[in-house]
Amino acid sequence: MKHLSLVSLLIAGVMLSACGTTETKAPVVDRSVATETAKPAAPAGPQVETHGLAAGATDQSQPLEANGSGIEGVSAADAAKLKDPNSLLSKRIVYFDFDKSAIKPEARPLIEAHAQFLKEHGQAKVVLQGNTDERGSREYNMALGQRRADSVKQAMAVLGVKDDQIETISFGEEKPVADGHDEAAWQQNRRTEIHYKGE
C-alpha cells in the first residue's frame, strides 16, 4: 500500500538566479499529514473498510449480525404469506412511468394488500425503497427515487397505515435490477420496492 501525503511535500525550494551562482533559500513548507492511528469505529455495515493516508491508519468495520427476530408482531404463519407466490403480498415492486411518481392503476391491488397487512399487524414496519433508471444526474435521481417511495407511502397512508410503520428511502439509480441501457431495462428499474423490517 502506497501512502500519499496530503499535499505535495515541498521539503526545500531554492530559487536559482539567472546566472546560477547566487542562491536564495525559499521558505520551507511542510504540510505532511498527521500520523495518528485510527481507533476501531462502531460497526458500520458489511465489509466496509476505510484507509487513512497516514502510516498505519486503517479502519475495518465488523459485519452486522443479521436480525434473527423476524418481523415484529407478525407470526410465522402470517410472515409466510409474505413469501407465498399465490399471495399478492409476495409481490413487492411498484413500477413507474418515465419521470413520473404517480401510482399506476395496476399497482393498486398490490399496495392495498400490503396496506391491509400493515393495518392488521400494527407493530410491523416496512422500508419503501425508491429507484430510478440510469439517465441523468445521480443526485437528482436520488430525489426522484425518494418521491417514488413517498408516493407509495402516501397511497398506504390514505388506506390507513400509520406513519411510523413506514420509512421511505431512495437508492436513486444505484441499484438497478436490469443492467441494460434501453427502455426495456429502464422500465424495470423505475420502481419502489417494499421490504419488511426483520424479514
Partner: protein, 423 residues
C-alpha cells in the same frame, strides 16, 4: 492498490505513455482537441549525472501536452543541457521553440534527490523561472508536476492544476472504492471500500476531509472522513435519505439534501454533525446544493417549476431565483472558484452534456457532445471542468476546458464516476 488497476484500452487520437518507472498506476490519458494556438515548447531530457533516477522531464512533458495549450518541440539530437551554460539558444530557435525547459536530477548522499530546472524564453534568451528542490525520491513525481505548474503559470498566466488531486468512485467487480489520486490519475489510493454504492465525494476546503454518501447501512447516509487517519463519522443519518453534501467555503458546514420532512429538501448541518437547519420549504424536489465561492449563495437543483432547473438562494435560506431557463433539464451546478462561471448538466435532443454559464453575461455554452455526462466540477484554477462520462460502454472521467476546446479522458480498468477536485 495499483494492482487492482490495469491499463485501460484507449481508442484515442493520441495516447500518451509515460516512462515505465512512472507508469505503475496503470492509467492512461487521452487528449481530444487542442487550443487554436499552442505555445511551442522544448523540454530537454533532464541531465542525471551519476544517477539512475527516473527523468522528471517525461512527466513535465506529459502534463503540458495534456493541457492542450502547448506544442512539444522535438528535442532529439540537441543534447542534454543540464545547466545554463550548456544552452545554445540558436539551436532551440531553429526548432521553432518559443520556450525551453532544462533541468537535472541527482541523488544526494543522504538518499534524497535534488531536482533543478530552468525555464527560458528562447526568443529573448532570458530565464523566466528557475528552482531547485530537494525531496525524498518518492516525491520526485510530485516535483515534476510542480515544475509543470510553474511553467504553465509563467507562460499562460494562471496557476496550473498538474500538482492537484482528485477523488472519484471506482466500481470494479461489483465493489465500490472511493479513491484519491494525483490529477493525472497516478498514486491512486483507496480511502474507503464497500460492497454497497458510494456517491458524491466532495473535498473539504482545507483538503483534509472528504464528505460522501454511502449506502452501506442499506440507506443513503452522509459521512465525513478524515483523510490522514481514515476515521469517519456519519454526519447526516436521519430518517429517510441523506444525500448531496456540499461544503461551505469556511469548511464548518455542509449543505445536504434530506428527506426527513419532505421528499428532498436542502438543509445546513455542522460538518461534525448535529441538528439540521432547513433552508428550502418547497413542495418540490430540492437537491444538489453548491455554494458560491464567497459563501453567500447556494445554487441548487429543483423541479418546483415543473422540470428540474437550477435556482439560487441566500446561504441562509429564503426566496430562490431561477438561474437556468433553456431546456427542460438543467442540473448539477458547480461554481468556478473565481466566481465567474457555473457549470452544469444540460439535456438536449442528443443527451446529457456539460454546459457552462458565464454568470455576468448570462451566456450559456454547451461544451461536450457525449450523451451521458454527469457530475461536473471546476478545477481549482477555474480553467477546466472535471466530469464523468461514458465512452465505449465504460464509465470514464474527463475534463473539458471552460472554452470547450480541450478535452482529456482518464481511463482505468473498472468504471470511474463521481469525480471531485481537491481545493
Amino acid at each position: 492498490m495499483a494492482g487492482l488497476l490495469r491499463l485501460g484500452a484507449v481508442l484515442g487520437l493520441l495516447l500518451v505513455s509515460f516512462l515505465p518507472g512512472f507508469a505503475r498506476a496503470g492509467m492512461s490519458i487521452e487528449i481530444v482537441g487542442g487550443a487554436a494556438s499552442q505555445i511551442p515548447i522544448a523540454i530537454a531530457p533532464f541531465a542525471a549525472p551519476g544517477a539512475s533516477s527516473n527523468d522528471p522531464s517525461a512527466v513535465v512533458r506529459a502534463d503540458l501536452e495534456h493541457s492542450g495549450l502547448f506544442k512539444l518541440v522535438d528535442t532529439t539530437g540537441l543534447g542534454v543541457p543540464g545547466e545554463a551554460q550548456a544552452v545554445a539558444f540558436p539551436q532551440w530557435r531553429s526548432r521553432k521553440a518559443d520556450a525551453l525547459v532544462i533541468g537535472q536530477i541527482s541523488t544526494l548522499q543522504d538518499g534524497r534527490v535534488e531536482i533543478r530546472f530552468r525555464l527560458y524564453d528562447v526568443v529573448r534568451q532570458s530565464q523566466l523561472a528557475g528552482f531547485s528542490y530537494v525531496v525524498p525520491p518518492a516525491k520526485a513525481r510530485a516535483m515534476a508536476h510542480k515544475i509543470a505548474d510553474i511553467v504553465y503559470e509563467k507562460l499562460i498566466g494562471v496557476p496550473g492544476n498538474f500538482g492537484g488531486r482528485i477523488a472519484y468512485v471506482l466500481k470494479h467487480k461489483g465493489r465500490y472504492e472511493l479513491q484519491v489520486a494525483d490529477a493525472d490519475g497516478f498514486n491512486n489510493v483507496s480511502i474507503m471500500r464497500s460492497p454497497e454504492p458510494v456517491i458524491s465525494p466532495v473535498w473539504s476546503p482545507d483538503g483534509n476531509r472528504v464528505a460522501y454518501v454511502s449506502f452501506e447501512r442499506k440507506k443513503p447516509v452522509v459521512f465525513v472522513q478524515d483523510l490522514a487517519s481514515g476515521q469517519r463519522k456519519a454526519v447526516a443519518n436521519f430518517k429517510g435519505s441523506n444525500s448531496a453534501p456540499a461544503w461551505s467555503p469556511d469548511g464548518k458546514k455542509l449543505a445536504v439534501a434530506l428527506s426527513k420532512d419532505a421528499s428532498s429538501q436542502i438543509y445546513l448541518i455542522n460538518a461534525g454533525g448535529g441538528t439540521p437547519e432547513r433552508l428550502t420549504r418547497s413542495n418540490a424536489l430540492d437537491t444538489e446544493p453548491a455554494f458560491s465561492p464567497d459563501g453567500s449563495w447556494i445554487y441548487f437543483t429543483s423541479d418546483r417549476g415543473g422540470s428540474p432547473q437550477i435556482y439560487r438562494m441566500r446561504s441562509s435560506g429564503g426566496a430562490a431565483s431561477r438561474v437556468t431557463f433553456d431546456g427542460t433539464y438543467n442540473v448539477s451546478p458547480s461554481l468556478s472558484p473565481d466566481g465567474r462561471y457555473m457549470s452544469f448538466i444540460h439535456q438536449d435532443g442528443g443527451g446529457f452534456h456539460v454546459a457552462v454559464l458565464e454568470l455576468a453575461s448570462g451566456q450559456t455554452q454547451v461544451l461536450t457532445d457525449t450523451p451521458q455526462d454527469e457530475s461536473p466540477h471546476f478545477s481549482p484554477n477555474s480553467r477546466s471542468i472535471l466530469y464523468a462520462t461514458h465512452v465505449g460502454g465504460r464509465e470514464v472521467l474527463a475534463t473539458v476546458s471552460v472554452d470547450g476546446r480541450i478535452k482529456q479522458r482518464l481511463t482505468l480498468s473498472g468504471d470511474l464516476r463521481e469525480p471531485g477536485w481537491a481545493p
